[in-house]
C-alpha cells in the first residue's frame, strides 16, 4: 500500500486516491491538429524510475495532485497541488 502525503489531509492510503496519468503532459490547444493530440494522448513514456504523475484525492479533499513517484520502489519524492495557483497559495500560507 502506497502512502501518499496529501498536502491538505496528511498521509493517507493510496486507496483513497484515483490515479490520473502522466503529469508532464502539456495538453494541446483544443483547436490544435490531431497529430499533436495523438502525441499527447497515446505516445506515453514507460518510465523506469522517477515519474511525475497526477493523482486525485477522490475520497478526501478531491484535490488533484502532482506527485513524483519512483516506479521501481513506489517511493514518493514530492507532492504538490496540480493547480499552480493553489500550490502557490498553500506555499504562502505556510
Amino acid at each position: 500500500m502506497i502512502r501518499i502525503p496529501c498536502p491538505f489531509c496528511g498521509e493517507r492510503d493510496h486507496s483513497e486516491f484515483g490515479y490520473g496519468g502522466d503529469g508532464t503532459i502539456v495538453y494541446p490547444a483544443l483547436d490544435a491538429p490531431a497529430e499533436e493530440w495523438v502525441e499527447a494522448i497515446f505516445e506515453r513514456e514507460n518510465i523506469c524510475g522517477v515519474q511525475s504523475e497526477t493523482w486525485q484525492h477522490v475520497n478526501g479533499c478531491r484535490m488533484w495532485l502532482l506527485i513524483e513517484r519512483n516506479t521501481m520502489t513506489h517511493e514518493i519524492q514530492s507532492v504538490r497541488p496540480a493547480h499552480e495557483g493553489v500550490a502557490k497559495a498553500l506555499e504562502e500560507s505556510k
Binding site: 500500500m1 495538453y27 483544443l30 494522448i41 497515446f42 497526477t54 478531491r62 484535490m63 488533484w64 495557483g85
Partner: protein, 994 residues
C-alpha cells in the same frame, strides 16, 4: 505403543480435560494442547494420507511448517480442510477428521497408488495429457478427459464445505510506531527496547502464547514471564493468535487475527477472524527459524519429525513422544532436546553426521546418558504406519555407506535451520546464502525494517535477546528517539560448525526420499526434472510442484535447491532461491472479503423516495449502486405485462418515474459558460438563462463519454445532469480539467446528486399534473414555460422546486427536482394528480421501452467504443467551435463511412422476439464478428411487436429491405430481422414538443 503423556511438566492444564472427536472416535486432551499434541499423547500416529501416493503421514513438526498432519476440522458448513493439527488449538467438542482417504486415514484403499509411483512422478499431468508413459498410450485419443476425473479425485487435499460460510469476518485498520513480528526472545527484547524509548509498539504473535522458543525451554519459565510483564508495564500493545502474513510498501503489514477458532462455539458478538491492515513506521521481524529435515529413505513415515518438535512436545505439552528415540542431527541444536528426552525416561541415541563435535556439546549427551554415534546418519525408516526401526548410514568420504540398523519408535531429525526470511522477501530483499551456517540469511533492507533473532541467523537465546535489543534501538533511532546502545551479535553461535547434509543415500539402493512431503515430491523427482532439462529453480518448482503446497516449502525447499545444485554441479547460491510471496500461512477467503459479502458486497444507494416506491408495490432493480424502481406490477401482472401497460399509459395519459439517481452537478462561477462550451460538443455559449440544453461530452480521444441536460439558472449558475452510471466519472473529469488543464478558468463544480430528488412527469397530460401541483399555475403556460425551458418555482405547501421541460420518453414531459427532504411529499402530490388522470408510475423497464422506441441512447449504446457519428448524433458536434475530442473524433478509421452505426431492428416475423447481445450478420454469412450487434430490446406497445436498437456497419440505409440475421447461437438461435431507422416512434418529435 510409545508416546504417552507425562504426569507433570509442560504448559498444559491437566485439571481441564477437553473432549473431542477424531475420525469419529471420542478422545481427550488438556487445555493448552494443540490437536496434534492431544493426538500424539493418545499415541495416534497416522493422521493423514499423502497427496498423490496416499502414504500414511503423521506429525512432522510442532508448528506452522507442518507438512504431514493436515486434517479437516469442523463439520457441515463449518468444515475447514487442510488445517495443520500442529497449530489448531484444542477445544472441548472439537471434531476433526482425516482427509484424502477412504474409508479412513488408517485404512486407505487408495494407498495402492503408492505401487504405481513411477507413473505419478514429476510432470505426471503434463505427460499424461499426451498419453500414458512409457509408450504414450492413448495419445491424442481424448482419453485424458475420461481418466482426468478419476485422477483429480484420487489426488488431492481436503474438501471444503460447499455451503455458504456461516461465520462473520471483519477488517481492521491500525497504526503504530513499531510493529514487532514474533514474540520469542528477540521479539520480546525488541518490543521492550522500542517501548522504553517512548515509541508506540504493536507486538504480534501467531501462537496463542507469547514466548516463541521460550515455550519449549523448561528453564525459561520465569525469564519469559518477566519479559512479558515488562512489556505490559511498558504499554506494548499485544496481539496473540495473529499472523503477520505479508509486508507491503510503506511499512504496511497484513495481519490475520484468529478470534474464535479456538472456542467451542462461535461467538454471537465476535467475528471468526479479523484481517488487519497495519501502518507502521518501522518493522522488526523476529519471526524465528524453522528446522528442516533431511532426505533419506521413507523419511515421511509417521514417527519421523523435527528434533525441535520432539523437544516442544516434551517441554510444552508434557508428552514423551517416544520411548526409544533416535536423534539424527547435523548440528549442535538437537543435543539439548536429546538430553531432556533421555532424562524424561526415553532411551535415546544421537546420530551426528559430523565426525568431530566440540566436547561441550558432546558432554550434554554423555551426561544425560544417551547413546552417541558420530559420522552417522539415517538411511531408511522402516515401518508402514509407524516407524519401528531405522537403517543407518556411516560417513564414508564425502558420501555414505550402509551401517546396520537400530530399533526405535521415534526419529527426530535436524538437518539445520532456515531463518524465516519470508517477510523480508515480500519486500523484494533477495535472501543471501550463508555457506558457514548452511542457510539463506535475510538481505539488508533499505526500508525501515530490521530482522532480529534466529530470523537473522542467530542460534542462541542470549544472542537473540541482544539482537532484539539492537533492532529495538535501530527502530528508536530511525524514529528520532534514543535507546541504550547494544552491540550486535554475529550470526551463528554453535560450538561446532554444521555439516550440511541434505540427502543420505548409498550407491545401488533405491530409496523413496521425500523433499516436499505435502506434494509428494521425492529426490528422484528433482533428479528427473534435471534430466529432462529443467535447470532453473523456478522451472524446477513448477515442474515438480516442489514448494507449491499450502506450506510453501517451509521444510523442503532448501533440500530441493541443494539437490538441483548438486545435479548441476553448482553451488546453492548459483542456483538461487524462489521468491516467497504473501501469505506466509494460508488465509481464509472469508477474512479477505471481510464484511463485504452478500448485500454488503458494495455500498447501496437508495433514493429519498425509495420507501414510497415500495409502498406503491414497486419492484426494485440495481442500477450501479442505486436501487431504482424496475416496474410497478398491478394485481396478477407479470413484469412484461406491467412494463407494457406502463409504456402505453405514458404514451396515452401520463406517468411518473423516480429519476433521482441521475448525476447532478452544480457548475458555478464567471467562467462556467466557457467550461461547458469546451466540454460539450454542441454550443453552450448562448444558452439563455431559464433554458436547458441536451449535451454530449467526448473523451480526449474523441469517443463519447456521457450525455445529459444542463440547465442555466443564472448568468453564472448551471445545473448539469449526467447519466446514473457516469455521474462520478464526469465529476472527476471536470475537476481534473479545472485543476490540471484549465487552471485559469474561474469555475467551481459541486456534486449535488444527493441534494436534489427528481421525478419525471411524462405523457400528454403531464402539464395538467404539474398545474395541479404548482402554487401558481400560470408558470406552466406554454408561453411562460416552452419546450427546453427551466423554471424555479414553488409547489403547493411552499415546496421549492426546479422544473425543466425536457423529455427522454419522447412524449411531452417535465423533470421536477426538489430538495431531497421533500421527495415524499413531492411524489404524493404528483401521484394524486396523475392517478386522477388515469396515469401510472413507471420503472426502468418502461423507461427503457420508451427510449428504445425513440432511438435515444444510454450506457448500453455509449460503451466507450462509439463516436458521436456512430450514435447518429453527428449533428450535435458543432463545426464552429473546438471542444474536448473535436480534434480526434474524425481521425483515421473513426471517419470511415462503414463504421457500425446506430440502427433500429424489427423481427422479420413480427410475432418473434430476439435478444440483446445478438450478433448481426448478413444473410448467409453467419460467421466471425458479423456486421454489428444488438444493444437493447423491448416490446413496443406503440408498434405492437418487439423492437431493438443496435449497431450495424454503414448504418440502416444500405440494409433497407434486406434480411439480416440476429445470431444468438447459445440462446435463441438465429432470428431473421430487418434494419430500420433508430427513430422508430414519432420520428419528427411532434409529441415531445407538445
Amino acid at each position: 505403543m510409545s508416546a504417552r503423556r507425562l504426569q507433570s511438566g509442560g504448559l498444559i492444564d491437566r485439571t481441564q480435560t477437553l473432549r473431542f472427536k477424531w475420525d469419529g472416535r471420542d478422545m481427550t486432551g488438556f487445555a493448552g494442547d494443540t490437536l496434534a499434541s492431544a493426538l500424539l499423547a493418545s499415541n495416534e500416529r497416522v493422521l493423514a494420507r499423502s497427496f498423490k501416493y496416499h502414504r500414511p503421514r503423521g506429525i512432522m513438526s510442532a508448528g506452522v511448517e507442518e507438512s504431514g498432519a493436515l486434517v479437516t476440522v469442523g463439520t457441515g458448513d463449518r468444515r475447514d480442510p487442510n488445517v495443520r493439527a500442529t497449530t489448531q488449538e484444542l477445544y472441548g467438542g472439537l471434531v476433526a477428521n482425516g482427509q484424502n482417504a477412504w474409508p479412513s486415514v488408517r485404512h486407505d484403499v487408495s494407498a495402492v497408488n503408492g505401487l504405481f509411483g513411477r507413473f505419478f512422478a514429476a510432470g505426471f499431468y503434463y505427460k499424461t495429457f499426451m498419453g500414458i508413459p512409457p509408450f504414450e498410450w492413448g495419445s491424442g485419443t481424448g482419453m485424458w478427459m475420461q481418466y482426468e476425473k478419476i485422477i483429480r479425485r484420487a489426488a488431492g487435499m481436503g474438501e471444503a464445505s460447499r455451503a455458504p460460510d456461516p461465520d462473520r469476518y471483519e477488517h481492521g485498520h491500525t497504526h503504530c510506531d513499531v510493529l514487532v513480528v514474533g514474540s520469542g526472545p528477540a521479539g520480546l527484547a525488541a518490543a521492550h527496547t522500542a517501548a522504553e524509548a517512548g515509541l508506540e509498539v504493536l507486538l504480534v504473535e501467531q501462537d496463542c502464547e507469547l514466548g516463541g522458543a521460550y515455550l519449549s525451554e523448561p528453564g525459561a519459565v520465569e525469564e519469559r514471564q518477566n519479559a512479558i510483564k515488562a512489556l505490559n508495564d511498558a504499554g506494548v500493545r499485544i496481539m496473540t493468535r495473529t499472523t503477520a502474513f505479508g509486508l507491503y510498501d510503506y511499512s504496511v503489514a497484513g495481519l490475520l487475527e484468529r478470534v474464535t477458532d479456538h472456542l467451542s462455539a462461535p461467538s454471537e458478538h465476535l467475528p471468526r477472524q479479523r484481517f488487519w491492515t497495519v501502518r507502521a513506521r518501522y518493522t522488526v521481524v523476529a519471526s524465528g527459524a524453522l528446522e528442516r529435515s533431511i532426505a533419506f529413505g521413507d523419511n515421511d513415515r509417521p514417527g519421523v519429525m523435527t528434533a525441535a518438535a520432539g523437544r516442544t512436545y516434551l517441554n510444552r505439552y508434557g508428552i514423551l513422544p517416544g520411548s526409544k528415540v533416535i536423534v539424527a542431527t547435523t548440528n549442535d541444536s538437537a543435543y539439548t532436546g536429546a538430553a531432556e528426552l533421555c532424562r524424561a525416561g526415553a532411551a535415546v541415541t544421537v546420530l551426528d553426521a559430523r565426525r568431530s563435535v566440540d566436547n561441550s556439546v558432546l558432554d550434554l549427551a554423555r551426561n544425560a546418558g544417551t547413546g552417541l554415534r558420530l559420522g552417522a546418519a539415517p538411511l531408511r525408516a522402516i515401518g508402514g504406519k509407524g516407524v519401528y526401526s531405522l537403517d543407518l548410514a556411516a560417513s564414508d568420504g564425502d558420501g555414505w555407506r550402509a551401517d546396520g540398523s537400530e530399533n526405535c519408535d521415534l526419529v527426530l531429525v535436524s538437518g539445520g535451520w532456515s531463518p524465516v526470511v519470508n517477510l523480508s522477501s515480500h519486500r523484494g530483499a533477495k535472501p543471501v546464502w550463508d555457506a558457514e551456517n548452511a542457510c539463506f540469511m535475510p538481505a539488508a533492507s533499505d526500508e525501515p525494517l530490521t530482522m532480529a533473532g534466529s530470523a537473522a541467523g542467530i542460534w542462541n537465546t542470549k544472542g537473540c535477546i541482544a539482537s532484539g535489543q539492537v533492532a529495538g534501538a535501530h527502530a528508536a533511532k530511525a524514529l528520532g528517539k534514543s535507546a541504550p546502545a547494544a552491540s550486535a551479535p554475529s550470526a551463528g553461535g554453535w560450538a561446532s560448525p554444521i555439516r550440511p547434509v541434505y540427502e543420505v543415500t548409498v550407491p545401488r539402493k533405491k530409496l523413496k526420499s521425500f523433499v516436499d512431503p505435502q506434494h509428494d515430491v521425492t529426490t528422484s523427482d528433482v533428479r528427473l526434472a534435471h534430466r529432462e532439462g529443467y535447470v532453473s529453480v523456478e522451472h524446477l518448482k513448477r515442474y515438480t510442484t516442489l514448494g507449491m503446497a499450502t506450506d510453501q516449502g517451509k521444510m523442503g525447499n532448501i533440500i530441493g535447491l541443494a539437490l538441483m545444485a548438486d545435479a548441476l554441479g553448482k553451488d546453492i547460491p548459483e542456483v538461487g532461491t524462489t521468491t516467497f510471496r504473501p501469505p506466509y500461512t494460508p488465509i481464509s477467503i472469508g477474512a479477505l472479503s471481510g464484511s463485504s459479502v452478500g448485500a454488503h458486497f458494495r455500498p447501496l444507494r437508495r433514493t429519498p423516495m425509495h420507501d414510497w416506491n415500495l409502498e406503491q408495490n414497486g419492484t426494485m432493480t440495481e442500477a450501479g449502486l442505486w436501487q431504482r424502481p424496475w416496474y410497478f406490477a398491478r394485481a396478477g401482472e407479470t413484469i412484461t405485462e406491467a412494463y407494457i401497460r406502463e409504456t402505453d399509459t405514458v404514451r396515452k395519459t401520463v406517468g411518473l418515474c423516480d429519476v433521482t439517481s441521475l448525476g447532478k452537478i452544480a457548475v458555478q462561477g464567471p467562467d462556467a459558460t466557457e467550461l461547458l462550451n469546451r466540454v460539450y460538443t454542441n454550443p453552450f455559449a448562448k444558452l439563455a438563462i431559464g433554458k436547458a440544453r441536451y449535451g454530449i461530452m467526448l473523451r480526449d480521444d474523441g469517443m463519447v463519454m456521457d450525455d445529459g441536460t444542463t440547465w442555466r439558472l443564472s448568468d453564472t449558475d448551471y445545473f448539469m445532469t449526467t447519466t446514473t452510471a457516469h455521474a462520478a466519472k464526469v465529476m472527476v473529469w471536470l475537476e481534473e480539467l479545472l485543476q490540471t488543464r484549465w487552471t485559469d478558468l474561474k469555475v467551481h463544480v459541486t456534486t449535488v446528486s444527493e441534494q436534489w430528488a427528481g421525478c419525471a412527469v411524462a405523457g400528454p397530460k403531464c402539464r395538467e399534473v404539474l398545474e395541479a401541483c404548482v402554487a401558481d399555475k400560470t408558470v406552466m403556460s406554454s408561453e411562460a414555460f416552452p419546450f427546453m425551458g427551466v423554471i424555479e418555482t414553488t409547489l403547493k405547501g411552499g415546496m421549492p422546486c426546479r422544473i425543466a421541460r425536457i423529455s427522454f420518453s419522447g412524449e411531452m414531459a417535465y423533470e421536477a427536482y426538489v430538495p431531497s427532504d421533500y421527495a415524499m411529499p413531492l411524489m404524493e402530490m404528483l401521484w394524486k394528480a396523475a392517478e386522477a388522470r388515469d396515469g401510472c408510475l413507471y420503472g426502468t423497464e418502461a423507461l427503457g421501452a420508451l427510449r428504445i422506441e425513440k432511438g435515444h441512447v444510454t450506457g448500453a449504446e455509449l460503451d466507450g467504443r462509439v463516436t458521436i457519428d456512430d450514435a447518429g448524433l453527428g449533428k450535435m458536434a458543432s463545426p464552429k467551435k473546438s471542444f474536448i475530442g473535436s480534434a480526434m473524433r474524425s481521425r483515421g478509421d473513426m471517419g470511415r463511412e462503414d463504421r457500425p452505426r446506430l440502427v433500429g431492428i424489427f423481427p422479420k416475423n413480427r410475432t418473434q422476439s430476439f435478444n440483446a447481445g445478438s450478433i448481426l450478420c448478413a444473410e448467409g454469412k453467419v460467421e466471425g464478428l458479423g456486421e454489428g450487434w444488438i444493444t437493447a430490446v423491448t416490446h413496443s406497445p406503440e408498434l405492437g411487436h418487439w423492437i431493438g436498437l443496435g449497431f450495424i456497419s454503414s448504418g440502416y440505409e444500405p440494409w433497407a429491405g434486406k434480411t439480416v440475421i440476429a445470431a444468438d447461437p447459445v440462446r435463441k438461435g438465429n432470428i431473421e430481422v430487418e434494419i430500420v431507422s433508430p427513430h422508430m416512434v414519432d420520428p419528427s418529435g411532434e409529441r415531445m414538443h407538445g
